[in-house]
């Protein structure tokens, strides 16, 4: 099979994949008696048409940046971390424990401490699968799936038996103290001119942007990042260069888990301000789609997270204001993952003839 030019591989393939997913989704909407044009209008309007919509879109974007980066870091080490969901949930537990531990004097201190808690718990949840992969060759995909379930059970236990305040019926932790409340976009000077203080997007968004830079710097500017990428490209060559497989697998997975865990500062600390069950709402899985779409580059991840933030918020609005059920967004998500991650060869094959004729003509 002829090779595509790099730009086509980086830009065209994801776009065509997205287009295919969109076309099929539109067909599905038609099939269930909906109106695709109306659906798109509602989605765009609901997600991007108002500061309120943006407030939610960017809120979801923040979460997806974290989980997308988590998948990205692991991917560069050749590891498929499918446990972002569990790590994000555990990150939430870390945030809750930190936030509830002290009457925090200022949000910035609380954010710092909670970030550490979130990252540590997320990393801890990735540590065992990573160790098993590095030392015993247990397939990391299966172990991380198992840890998603174990994590969910652990959260239920913690919420029901440990963190639920006496007298409360729903399995959720107590509200975090006011000192741990993160300013949302409506409370940040400057942004407050645009946003009301009812939007969930909060300072974590900037942490997420910083995380994009940090991951970029890690992967392309540090020794560890170099080793991670080298190992991910060629295990045998990495060993020749004296790179320790155990070290790379462990560190990359710990960082990956930490990033997934960090997502909790957005949803748990920034939005719900208490830990509830299933707080991550599948963002760990969406991270896979985000990383695939974003071609495993932090900038791409940022763009893809924005896209999925839009899909997510737009999908919620669509579920609200049209007869199309909100589950459509699960379908779209699945199709995007399918076309970008598993049927990419098909997309490339579809594109090859065009480039062949183009080259032939030239």
């Amino acid at each position: 099979m002829a090779k595509l030019p790099t730009w086509a591989d980086l830009v065209l393939v994801p776009l065509i994949s997205l287009l295919l997913a969109a076309v099929i989704s539109a067909l599905v909407i038609l099939a269930i008696g909906g109106d695709p044009v109306e659906a798109v209008t509602v989605m765009v309007d609901g997600a991007l048409g108002s500061p309120y919509g943006w407030g939610y879109t960017l809120y979801y974007t923040t979460s997806f940046i974290f989980t997308g980066l988590a998948v990205t870091v692991a991917y560069h080490a050749g590891q498929f971390n499918i446990g972002g969901e569990g790590q994000a949930q555990l990150g939430g537990l870390g945030v809750a424990l930190v936030c509830l531990a002290l009457p925090w004097p200022h949000w910035s201190i609380a954010l710092l401490a909670a970030s550490v808690g979130a990252a540590l718990f997320g990393a801890a949840w990735a540590a065992i699968p990573a160790w098993l992969q590095a030392k015993r060759g247990s397939h990391i995909v299966i172990t991380t799936i198992m840890f998603n379930y174990i994590g969910a059970a652990l959260i239920v236990y913690m919420l029901v038996e440990v963190l639920r305040p006496i007298g409360q019926m729903d399995p959720a932790s107590a509200r975090f103290p006011v000192g741990a409340k993160l300013p949302n976009f409506g409370e940040i000077p400057g942004l407050s001119l645009i946003f009301s203080n009812k939007v969930p997007a909060n300072v974590s968004f900037f942490v997420a942007i910083a995380a994009c830079f940090a991951v970029w710097a890690l992967l392309w500017r540090t020794r560890l990042g170099y080793e991670i990428r080298a190992f991910g490209k060629s295990e045998s060559a990495a060993v020749y260069a004296g790179i320790s497989p155990t070290k790379v697998i462990m560190l990359s997975m710990l960082i990956s888990g930490g990033l997934a865990g960090l997502m909790a500062i957005n949803n748990v600390m920034g939005e719900s301000e208490r830990l509830v069950q299933n707080a991550s709402e599948g963002a760990g899985f969406i991270g896979i789609a985000v990383a695939l779409m974003g071609r495993n580059h932090p900038f791409g991840v940022f763009l893809a997270a924005l896209l999925f933030g839009f899909l997510y918020q737009g999908g919620a609005e669509m579920g609200l204001w049209t007869t199309i059920p909100i589950e459509l967004r699960l379908l779209v998500q699945g199709l995007v993952i399918l076309f970008t991650g598993a049927l990419d060869t098909m997309v490339r094959m579809m594109l090859t003839p065009f480039f062949r004729t183009a080259r032939g003509a030239a």
């Binding site: 409360q168 019926m169 729903d170 009812k198 969930p200 509830v276 069950q277 709402e281 609200l320």
Partner: protein
């Protein structure tokens, strides 16, 4: 327009949420108005749902289920001009109407019926999520059973400790089978959608079941002894009818105002003997008159009978 938000069990649980839906539909039929509605898919969505409706100008906004309590407490002050109605939970905010029911009273009545209909002297209770609210159903039921037959045994199970317990028909069904094995021949299902599995199994196994919240007698005629109806539909209907001007504050609804009760219709007429009906109606009168005090589990989180 008013808005209605359903809890995790889903609009079509044929029970709690569906009762609310029916109330809203009744209002639509009568007034020709329209309303917005939304079903919760996950815990984390609640706040966005509430805010979205409030932002869009919906008023009043009615939500079913205690789980909204905490979120409403923070959202309500942000929208002082919007009226909220929460069912099954007390939220102390100036623009919130809290509707709670005296489920123990209705459960007491169906408990009496269960004891009278039971041939084995063992009756069952399958609850949804293990929380004081559901214990309250169970405690009222057990009191009713014991009032008729102090020797009777009440077998009790809860489906789970999380909201998933409202939507797990498989577990409901398995627990029912287990209770039947322990001799239960009348089973009271107070578990939202999970009840679908419970009552299905009750019908499959040929014993009697008791529905909850909505009148579920039609589901398995001949196998439904009765249903403990909780008029969530009325609460929703009234809230919608009152509109943005509705009075806020606490509303406690019980036998007295027919907020709870048991269902008697063509589907279970054959199963209820005149004696049973007489006994139960008499007890209802006594409860209304205060002569029988049915203990409310949530008052002190204990139950006087086992």
């Amino acid at each position: 327009d008013p808005a209605l938000i359903f809890d995790l069990g889903g609009k079509f649980d044929k029970s709690f949420n569906e009762a609310a839906f029916n109330g809203a539909e009744k209002w639509v039929a009568e007034t020709g108005g329209s309303y917005k509605q939304l079903e919760m898919q996950s815990e984390a969505q609640r706040e966005q749902a509430l805010r979205r409706f409030a932002e869009s100008g919906a008023n009043p906004i009615v939500m079913t289920g205690f789980a909204f309590g905490d979120v409403l407490n923070t959202v309500a002050p942000d929208y002082p001009d919007t009226k909220f109605v929460i069912i099954d939970m007390v939220v102390d905010q100036p623009n919130v109407r809290s509707v709670v029911f005296q489920e123990e009273q209705g459960s007491y009545l169906v408990g009496m019926m269960a004891a009278m209909a039971s041939k084995t002297g063992t009756v069952g209770f399958v609850g949804g999520m293990d929380i004081p609210l559901i214990r309250k159903f169970e405690c009222g039921y057990a009191q009713g059973v014991k009032a008729v037959n102090p020797e009777a045994k009440v077998v009790m199970n809860m489906t789970g400790t999380t909201p998933a317990a409202w939507n797990d028909p498989v577990k409901g069904s398995e627990l029912t089978k287990a209770q039947i094995a322990q001799g239960a021949d009348v089973i009271y299902a107070a578990a939202g959608s999970t009840g679908l599995g419970i009552l299905q199994t009750v019908a499959d196994e040929g014993i009697l079941g008791i529905g909850v919240d909505s009148n579920q007698n039609y589901m398995h005629p001949g196998h439904m002894l009765t249903s403990m109806v909780k008029r969530v539909d009325l609460s929703v209907y009234e809230a919608f009818k009152d509109g943005p001007a509705l009075e806020t504050g606490l509303v406690v609804s019980g036998l007295k105002d027919e907020g709870v009760g048991y269902a008697l219709d063509e589907y279970n007429a054959d199963l209820i003997t005149p004696e049973m009906k007489a006994a139960v109606d008499a007890a209802a009168e006594k409860i209304k008159a205060g002569e029988i005090a049915v203990h409310d589990y949530m008052a002190d989180n204990t139950c006087p009978v086992e």
